[in-house]
């Protein structure tokens, strides 16, 4: 069962660099999207690789658990989930210390 709220992020999971986020997200996504071509990039279209609304639900759970944040409804858009790059940019903005 997922926890009722995302766990607080442990320090090593607070990457500030976009590149680190991209590689972390790539691992999470590759585990859940077996259709992703090998050597996919942050610009690879995830919908073309089979990401659908069910996949997004599982991905949301995983990302929120991993990074200890809640992605608000307003940020859950087709554009933000289209590529690893867009998702990393979204998380980067959310995780950056105010």
């Amino acid at each position: 069962m997922p926890s009722s709220s995302p766990a607080s992020p442990s320090p090593e999971f607070l990457p500030s660099a976009l590149a680190e986020l991209e590689s972390g997200l790539s691992v999470l996504i590759a585990e859940r999207l077996p259709e992703l071509p090998e050597g996919f990039t942050p610009d690879t279209n995830l919908y073309d690789a089979g990401l659908d609304s069910m996949g997004i639900m599982h991905l949301l759970l995983a990302i929120e658990d991993r990074y200890g944040i809640l992605i608000p409804e307003a940020d859950v858009s087709q554009k933000n989930f289209c590529t690893v790059g867009n998702l990393a940019a979204l998380l980067h903005a959310r995780l950056r210390p105010a």
């Binding site: 009722s4 709220s5 859940r32 073309d48 089979g50 996949g55 639900m57 759970l61 608000p72």
Partner: protein
């Protein structure tokens, strides 16, 4: 108990494959009996509320092939054309590299009645279960059926197992097999009263966000995360497909285990009710939504399969292998759904149709037993491509022809009325 009724061909299981097999056998001149356990024909295509027909069109890349290309002639094409003509289906609808027909399950059940009623040589038994199969040496002599306590015996020259579960084969002692890890089942139900215009791409994502939140908050169980939503072609109607995890208390998924099957049905309903209540509370588009139809039965993608004279392998389909006895084509990717978190797809080289030999529709060890549909002779992986409805219609038609020809060859009493156009 009355005296046994004598047929040329008995078809066990009235899903899409059994319908195709029975109508084709009757049209080929065979006196045919079709046995179905539910009160309607269609199986997954009607009773389980599967609402799209896959495997009717070639796989294609849009740039190379701009239009959908039907792959089958004969019975599958007839079914598609009649569904479209009656308004019971729309399409083809393109999704990625596949095209499918979106149909109303009720329209398929009505069409199945019309198709069977038109065949004078075809008898249909509904609410009827197989209970035994008697053999003479290497061939089945008769089957016994039960209809709410009424027992009947049916003899035939040839038998077709389109039960989806190889139920006739196992009763007849024919070789069968079952993978240890099966494709996950799907629980499909219909909602009415939905403002479907509000369910655009971002609308679906908002639902996804809300469901994850409701699962985190303990308002919904994690099982709802297997949900897919698809608007039908009818106003206010959407279908929800829940790929099911194991119900609580069930450690191994086996749809042929009576306890597991009962648990699956109740688990599916138990997810559907709270899910719809939560959607109605959270989303204006669902405020007036109600469950318009629960399935008569949970959707099963894979269970027991018959071991045939040839067992189709994934490589046969992926590499486009040719056979001297090809009787049907497969035009669906290998769609593995061993996890309830979404499919893994494998497409054949060049997106070419896969060939299905007649030997994969004939039992290895029972001379007069044929099969079609999802329990044909294929590996676990190959079955993940062959199980779709368009291919079930095609293999059903092929099995119907082959069984009728077999019955004729062994000199059974064939109907003598004239065949041909009316």
């Amino acid at each position: 108990m009355s005296a046994p009724e004598r047929y040329d061909v008995v078809v066990a299981g009235g899903g899409s494959a059994g319908l195709a097999a029975a109508v084709t056998a009757a049209r080929s001149g065979a006196r045919t009996l079709l046995i179905e356990r539910h009160g309607m024909l269609g199986g997954m295509t009607s009773a389980a509320l599967v609402h799209s027909i896959c495997g009717l069109y070639r796989l294609r890349d849009e740039a190379e092939t701009p239009e959908a290309v039907p792959v089958h002639e004969g019975f599958p094409a007839e079914v598609a054309q009649r569904l479209l003509a009656s308004g019971g289906a729309v399409g083809p609808v393109r999704i990625g590299r596949v095209d499918l027909l979106l149909h109303a399950p009720s329209a398929f059940a009505l069409l199945a009645d019309a198709l069977t009623a038109a065949e004078q040589r075809l008898t249909v038994r509904l609410h009827t279960e197989l209970i035994t199969a008697q053999r003479d040496d290497a061939a089945i002599r008769c089957v016994e059926t039960m209809t709410h306590g009424t027992r009947e015996t049916h003899e035939a020259a040839a038998f077709i197992d389109t039960t989806g579960d190889a139920a006739l084969a196992v009763l007849a002692g024919a070789a069968c097999e079952q993978a240890e890890v099966l494709q996950r089942p799907a629980y499909i139900f219909a909602l009415g009263g939905v403002e479907t215009a509000d369910l655009d791409g971002d609308g679906r994502l908002r639902i996804a966000r809300a469901l994850v939140g409701a699962v985190r908050g303990g308002r919904l169980s994690r099982g709802v995360l297997g949900a897919h939503f698809r608007a039908s072609h009818r106003p206010g109607e959407i279908y929800v497909t829940l790929d099911l995890e194991n119900p609580p208390g069930v450690s191994t998924y086996d749809p042929l285990d009576p306890a597991c099957l009962a648990a699956l049905e109740q688990y599916g309903r138990g997810l559907a009710g709270p899910l719809v209540a939560a959607l109605a509370e959270d989303f204006p588009a669902f405020r007036r939504a109600f469950i318009a139809a629960l399935p008569t039965r949970v959707g099963i993608r894979e269970s027991r399969r018959i071991v045939g004279e040839y067992t189709l392998q994934a490589s046969d389909l992926l590499e486009g292998r040719s056979f001297p006895d090809t009787v049907a084509l497969s035009t669906w990717p290998i769609e593995l759904r061993e996890e309830a978190t979404g499919p893994r797809l494998r497409f054949p080289a060049g997106l070419c149709p896969g060939e299905i030999p007649l030997r994969a529709l004939k039992s290895r060890d029972v001379a007069n037993l044929f099969t079609a549909g999802r329990c044909l002779s294929a590996s676990h992986e190959a079955q993940a491509a062959l199980r779709v409805i368009g291919t079930c219609l095609a293999t059903g038609e092929a099995a119907g022809k082959a069984a009728a020809a077999y019955a004729k060859s062994v000199g059974s009493r064939m109907a003598t009325t004239q065949t041909g156009p009316l």
